[in-house]
Amino acid sequence: MAATTETKQQVEDMAGEYKYGFTTDVEMEMAPKGLSEDVIRFISAKKDEPEWMLEWRLKAYRAWLKMEEPDWAKIDYPKIDYNDIYFYAAPKSQDKPKSLDEVDPELLRMYEKLGIPLREQEVLAGVEGAAKVAVDAVFDSVSVATTFREELSKAGVIFMSISEAVKEHPDLVRKYLGTVVPQRDNYFAALNCAVFSDGTFVYIPKGVRCPMELSTYFRINAENTGQFERTLIVAEEGSYVSYLEGCTAPMRDENQLHAAVVELITMDDAEIKYSTVQNWYPGDKDGKGGIYNFVTKRALCKGNNSKVSWTQVETGSAVTWKYPSCILAGDNSVGEFYSVAVTNNYQQADTGTKMIHMGKNTSSTIISKGISAGKSHNTYRGLVKVLSGADDVRNYTQCDSLLVSSECGAHTVPYIEVRNPSAQIEHEATTSKISDDQLFYCRARGFDEEEAVAMIVNGFCKEVMQHLPMEFAVEAQKLLGISLEGSVG
């Protein structure tokens, strides 16, 4: 079963007892366009937040006002007019498609290939009325990531939307929110702190191995709504959790700004495995439209012997700016980053990681696979930093780029800063073009051109894909093939 279907099913199963999400009868209420202290007060009031949360948002907003949008990444996009964005939900569009007949056939073909059921296709495509049926799977701004809460609560695991957590577990949220990614960390993170819509809070108590993989996915549903998700995961001593984010199905969408913040914290002997499949609308063949995705994801391996593993498959968005990182503070802590980034047509991805080694005997592994097709640009940007007190650090970095067309670009920008002579740092990088011999060999075994490309690319990404949870991996494999359709040349 596709993860999307499954999640929807789970949501439907529990719809009866779900009391926090908004119901379908209520028309979405929106804040006025643009950003001001009033808008932030509106958001905070809408969410019925305590005073400290509002103050926290306002502080971030004031910091953001003084910050500059970064321009160092190898991405190019029209200037974002922050006064032309709805920061909390949006008015319902009057010209939604009435049925699937009115939806872009390209999109439908993709749904079919991904094996998405009709009903869900309607929701994804934004067909009028469809979202009302899928009540419970309303995707905007308010998260429904609260499935299986009962079973989890037996284990002592807290898994709820961050808006709820602010009210139900204010002490925990206050203690950790913004401790890994400070409000002033960067322009987009500050913006997120000021206006975050919703997101997820996970707390795994001491010694608990989370009994299931936690899966939540956010969807951008209303047009022109900036999405500002906020995720906070805390793994106490000796605990473990695997968290899945994302969804393989593409959404019909206009240009949308997306600036999420994800903070992970692991205590002694704790481990978090965080997997993402990102397939937001990349824009059309001519580079029109598509999502701008500016994400700050960072983990603090605070305790000794703790471990964080990031695995990402990035195929969507017009612009991706994203560097899931690990601060390896605890001795013997381990950071891992496994990434596949696919760009086609006019997509631009500038993604990579930062591994900051502070503790002794810390180690990190970076495996990045970039695949560029069409006229796209795909950049790996990574930092490995070893502080002077961090003895016996090890890092292994491997960056492989695969060029599928002759008009695309692959760029590798590694930064290595080592202040301790005992460190062992290895960096390997390769760039290759998909070979005619490989393609022909596959075709001479009965594969059509797209199957051949998909097979070769999946092979190229194998080292990363094998780190994804099984079901996710199967979907992601299909997705890679679909993302590269018509790209050979």
């Binding site: 070979s435 005619d436 011999d437 490989q438 022909f440 060999y441 596959c442 075709r443 001479a444 075994r445 009965g446 594969f447 059509d448 051109e449 199957e451 097979m455 070769i456 999946n458 092979g459 190229f460 990404c461 194998k462 080292e463």
Partner: protein, 245 residues
């Protein structure tokens, strides 16, 4: 089954095949012999439909169809198999996955359902055992780190699995020691049948000690200059191409 008339093929603007005629019937094994550069591999690639092999003149008919109208994978679906002179490595893709995808592509082309994983495993194990392939090789990435002999054996296992009507084997015997050569020959002989045809491309006679061809052709400079029975191969071996042609 296969009928080639006045074939001219250009690669990168250079004419490699210059008016070739060939007819192969079901149940026959033909050997095409020639020195390096005679255009043997170009012929094999052209039959399989490789891009950049531009047919500037002539026709290829296969089982009553105009082969040149078909995409490479459609030709495979119609029952053509090309055994590669240099089998290609595909890192990260397991041999099993590769072969199963290939088999199912062909089944789908012919309107059949995919073969189940269990059924496939049974089939491929039998095929591998018959050709004395270590089952571990099935789990490895396609041709990655295989020796020359292992690669050729892998081609034979694929051929046996896909069970083509027309097998074009491009220098399948090159680079093999005598034991591997015998195994390859067994694979080819097992594929022989009243409904199948085999086109062996080679420049040594030695494979023909184990696989008896019905017809031997001598190819020089893009053309078949002489055809005959299996004794022609022995004559070539003895006297060399220049004299025989």
């Amino acid at each position: 089954m296969l009928n080639i008339k006045d074939l001219h093929v250009h690669v990168d603007g250079t004419e490699i095949i210059k008016g070739l005629n060939l007819e192969v019937n079901a149940g026959e094994v033909h050997a095409i012999m020639g020195l390096n550069g005679a255009g043997k591999s170009t012929l094999a690639n052209t039959i399989a439909g490789r891009d950049d092999y531009e047919v500037s003149q002539g026709t290829i008919t296969y089982a009553g169809k105009n082969l040149l109208d078909l995409e490479p994978h459609e030709r495979v679906g119609e029952g053509i198999f090309l055994g590669f002179q240099y089998p290609v490595e595909i890192p990260g893709v397991s041999n099993l996955n590769f072969m199963r995808t290939a088999l199912n592509s062909i089944r789908r082309y012919n309107g059949l359902d995919d073969m189940s994983a269990a059924e496939f495993m049974k089939l491929i194990r039998t095929k591998a055992a018959a050709l004395k392939m270590d089952p571990e090789m099935l789990k490895r990435f396609v041709n990655v780190g295989f020796s020359g002999g292992e690669k050729k054996r892998n081609e034979m296992v694929q051929m046996s699995l896909l069970d083509p009507k027309l097998a074009v084997l491009d220098e399948t015997d090159s680079g093999l020691d005598i034991d591997a050569l015998k195994i390859v020959a067994e694979g080819i002989n097992a594929q022989r049948g009243d409904d199948t045809a085999i086109l062996l491309i080679t420049h040594y006679q030695r494979l023909l000690d184990y696989v008896q061809p019905d017809v031997v052709h001598v190819m020089i400079d893009g053309k078949i200059v002489k055809s005959g029975g299996k004794e022609l191969a022995a004559e070539l071996e003895e006297k060399g191409y220049a004299e025989v042609a």
